[in-house]
């Protein structure tokens, strides 16, 4: 399998998209909307022209501004799944899939379980069905690279879970260099080997999902991966321990070393919830009002003051948590990361 290499600079409205990527497996780019994620995919597909750069798949050069090489979009072998899918509304599902060529259309209609919808128009399909048509259409083009623009964002929560695992399996089977952009870190972590955090056109951190969670480079990366983020001033207290005086008044401890203003990062699954705090406990503790209780499956997501925590439904009941009541969020110093404020 060839590697897709992209190095480009593309001026956008408020900043310049500037990055270098080498894509073998699946790379996900995560970032807030307007970070330049879609623009990157459009540049690789040849739909917008970067100010400068080079894009190549193995030794097949798609763009090289220094040498004046620029292939048209139809000459780059990309399978592009657009946000909202961009299915042709005036063509049937079959015609959509056949658009790139009749040869493989039937196989893909079968494979994506949309053969029974072949004569339907895109307007008559559900979100999940549209997504499958979009994938079938992109693959019927026989691409060498797959570009997925927010492939799951148009789906409701119920459909999303099943579509995500299907997509996961598909990407593994295809083994194509794939760039996927999303604003949802969970989707990125589920689908990609490498996740890049894109902010204002630059990659802040590119690492495996595990590493992004365990060693976020800065506060922005941490909050994007779903962590609680608190602000405070850090100072060493010996024993490889750092004390952070939070802006809200409490003091928490971390095994990370830092000095000065820092971001304190705690993941919801590292937080325990109690009714009262034992002063002799070595745990960090933050007391606060229970703001919201959201049941997700057999877990309950609780917010206590500025902290989000996840507890089992059983313990939520045992603790008699109720909105407006008081509770204590506790977490270990070893689970407390200190990061730069990004």
């Amino acid at each position: 399998m060839d590697t897709l290499e992209a190095e480009l600079a593309l001026p956008l409205r408020a900043f310049e998209l500037e990055l270098t990527l080498a894509v073998g497996g699946t790379v996900a780019l995560v970032g807030p909307s307007g970070a330049g994620k879609s623009s990157l995919l459009h540049a690789i597909a040849g739909l917008v022209r970067p100010r400068s750069g080079r894009i190549a798949l193995g030794d097949e050069v798609w763009l090289d501004t220094a040498r004046g090489v620029e292939r048209k979009p139809e000459e780059r072998r990309v399978g592009f799944v657009f946000q909202d899918y961009a299915l042709f509304p005036h063509l049937s599902v079959r015609r959509n899939v056949e658009y790139a060529g009749r040869r493989r259309a039937d196989a893909y209609l079968e494979r994506f379980r949309i053969a029974h919808l072949a004569d339907a128009r895109p307007g008559e399909l559900s979100g999940g069905e549209r997504q499958r048509v979009a994938l079938a259409r992109a693959l019927a083009r026989d691409p060498a690279v797959l570009l997925l623009d927010e492939p799951l964002s148009a789906l409701d929560a119920h459909t999303k879970a099943s579509v995500r695992s299907e997509l996961q399996q598909l990407l593994r089977e295809l083994g194509l260099p794939t760039i996927l952009v999303t604003h949802d870190f969970e989707d990125a972590a589920a689908l990609a080997d490498l996740v890049g955090v894109l902010v204002e056109g630059k990659v802040r951190q590119l690492a495996s999902p595990q590493e992004l969670v365990s060693r976020p480079r800065d506060a922005f990366v941490a909050s994007l991966t779903g962590a609680n983020l608190l602000h405070g001033v850090a100072g060493p207290v010996g024993d490889d321990l750092t004390a952070v005086r939070l802006d809200t008044g409490e003091t928490v401890y971390s095994t990370d070393l830092a000095q000065g203003r820092v971001g304190v990062v705690v993941y919801p699954w590292d937080v325990s919830v109690a009714r009262i705090h034992h002063e002799d406990s070595a745990m960090n503790a933050i007391r606060g009002e229970v703001g919201s209780l959201v049941e997700i499956g057999n877990r309950v997501r609780v917010s206590i003051g500025p902290i989000a925590a996840e507890v089992t439904a059983a313990s939520a009941e045992r603790l008699e948590l109720a909105r407006g009541g008081c509770a204590v969020a506790t977490f270990k110093a070893t689970a407390t990361r200190l990061v730069e404020l990004g």
Partner: protein, 275 residues
């Protein structure tokens, strides 16, 4: 109490306005029996005018489609300096008094006009010929098509074009298989308006082409020349044009309603300023 009065005033105003708009249409059909009108349709003045109208409209509208479609597409999709000037130029004939349009055509293509001597050298004389009728019709009617066409092409979702390109289609194939079908409802609406405007053309035609029976006399010109000679014939032609106009309007409304996609919602909006 005051609210009730306001409501009554609104209903009364609407009643007067609608009555005023309907009255002339009703009068045309009420004045003579349908049989009497139909018998007039075979008189030479009427058949001659019908032939001139159909023939000139067919040629003029073919020109409008062939030249107007690429023009509308370029103006809708390209950004270049002076673009808004070109768009204004396209729209100008819409607000220009038809007599001025006819005058302009004479000044441009007449024997002593801007291009008159070059046309003369080619052995061409356009004024007061059927070609003049065709040109006058195309001049006043085409802006309706081009303007609507710009809106229709602008309403095509750019991601449709992008999708087509990434699926391996070049720009020509993309235009014919994606852009044109998606813009078609809007284009059809523009074409219907252009057709209706062209069939009703009077001022520019009489200035530039005159009113010679069997040569340049279209249905509206024939109505004008017949109404003090044979009022029944004028009424028959009037009734015919009412029916054609109604048919055009109906087709227009249906084509807008039966759009195959949501893509045309913007062109539907643009249409509301014309229909």
């Amino acid at each position: 109490m005051r609210r009730a009065l306001t409501a009554v005033a609104f209903f009364a105003a609407a009643l007067v306005a609608l009555g005023f708009l309907a009255l002339p249409i009703v009068a045309i059909f009420a004045h003579a029996s349908p049989a009497r009108l139909a018998s007039q349709l075979s008189s030479p003045v009427v058949t001659d005018a019908l032939v001139v109208s159909v023939e000139t409209s067919a040629v003029a509208q073919a020109l409008v489609l062939a030249l107007g479609t690429p023009t509308a597409y370029l103006l809708a999709t390209r950004r270049f300096p002076g673009r808004s000037l070109f768009v204004t130029l396209v729209e100008l004939p819409l607000v220009l008094p038809p007599a001025v349009a006819g005058l302009g055509l004479l000044a441009a293509l007449g024997r002593n006009g801007l291009l008159g001597s070059s046309l003369d050298a080619l052995g061409l004389s356009i004024p007061f010929t059927r070609t003049a009728v065709t040109l006058a019709v195309a001049f006043v009617a085409s802006p309706l098509y081009v303007r609507q066409g710009i809106a229709a092409f602008e309403a095509v979702d750019p991601s449709m074009v992008a999708a087509s390109r990434t699926l391996g289609a070049g720009s020509t194939r993309t235009f014919f298989r994606v852009v044109l079908p998606l813009a078609r409802p809007g284009l059809a609406a523009g074409f219907a308006l252009s057709l209706a405007r062209g069939l009703g053309e009077f001022g520019a035609t009489i200035m530039f082409a005159g009113s010679l029976q069997g040569v340049t006399q279209t249905l509206p010109l024939a109505i004008y020349s017949e109404f003090d000679r044979n009022f029944d014939a004028a009424l028959a032609m009037g009734a015919l044009l009412v029916l054609v106009s109604a048919a055009v309007l109906l087709t227009l409304k249906l084509s807008v309603q039966w759009t195959p996609s949501r893509q045309s919602s913007r062109s539907r909006f643009a249409l509301s300023s014309w229909s």
